[in-house]
Amino acid sequence: MCNQTAGLIARALEEAGISTVTISLLREVTEKVKAPRALEVPYGFGFPLGRPNDPTVQHKILNALFEMVETVETPGEIWLFDER
């Protein structure tokens, strides 16, 4: 249910005028709560930024999140992260 909670918090922040981007570990739930912008990542529960001690991939994920914030114009959009 973490993905629901994150999406609902993001919605409240956007309503207050703060831009958000949410990592999604379970697309089905992120879609249900209509998170404002979400990046689906290919990792297991507990690993939203991938493997431990892998700053290269962590930075790639953050860059993808920033790209979403700078370009997405439609609420509810979900991108799929590919670390290659």
Binding site: C2, T5, A16, E28, P36, Y43, F47, P52, Q58, G76
Partner: protein, 160 residues
């Protein structure tokens, strides 16, 4: 990749039958300045809290919608983790906080000039919430107000 089928059967049944709120499309607030001028906050649902703070109620049925502030200086040695869902594999975060809460990466990005600054306070919730009324009505808007007072432009949300 985490998929619905990876959840425990009990969790799958719960989500399949869960009465998700009927929501309209969210507001979408566009950034009005470049990233290198933006102040960024992290919000996680991993149940992190300072060791000195009150733990979350980790009972699923309690549906603890409260939040804890995490000062920007706090690292794993300063924190405990209340979230104890069986679907949350804690091994990653125990080895590297940045797997869930990428504070060191944000510090690097500010040092590189990619981001403007890091919020003075970040926030954590307990993600396993079967009832979200208090979250939607009170505690999410409260954190939005606190982040606004901290001049946050962008928040990154990380579930577990």
């Amino acid at each position: 990749m985490a998929q619905f089928k990876d959840l425990k059967p009990s969790s799958q049944r719960f989500i399949r039958n869960y009465p998700f709120p009927e929501l309209v499309d969210s507001t979408l607030h566009r950034l009005h300045k470049p990233l290198n001028k933006c102040r960024v906050a992290l919000i996680t649902t991993a149940g992190l809290h300072l060791k000195a703070d009150k733990p979350f109620n980790s009972s699923f049925l309690a549906s603890d919608c409260s939040y804890r502030a995490l000062p920007c200086w706090a690292r794993l040695c300063d924190m405990d983790i209340s979230h104890n869902s069986g679907d949350f594999d804690r091994r990653g975060i125990q080895e590297d906080l940045n797997v869930v809460y990428p504070i060191d990466r944000l510090v690097e990005l500010v040092q590189q000039g990619r981001l403007g600054s890091i919020a003075s306070m970040h926030y954590s919730y307990m993600g396993s919430l079967p009832r979200t009324g208090d979250l939607r009505k009170y505690t999410a808007p409260e954190v939005a107000q606190l982040a606004t007072q901290d001049a946050v432009d962008l928040a990154i949300l990380t579930p577990v």
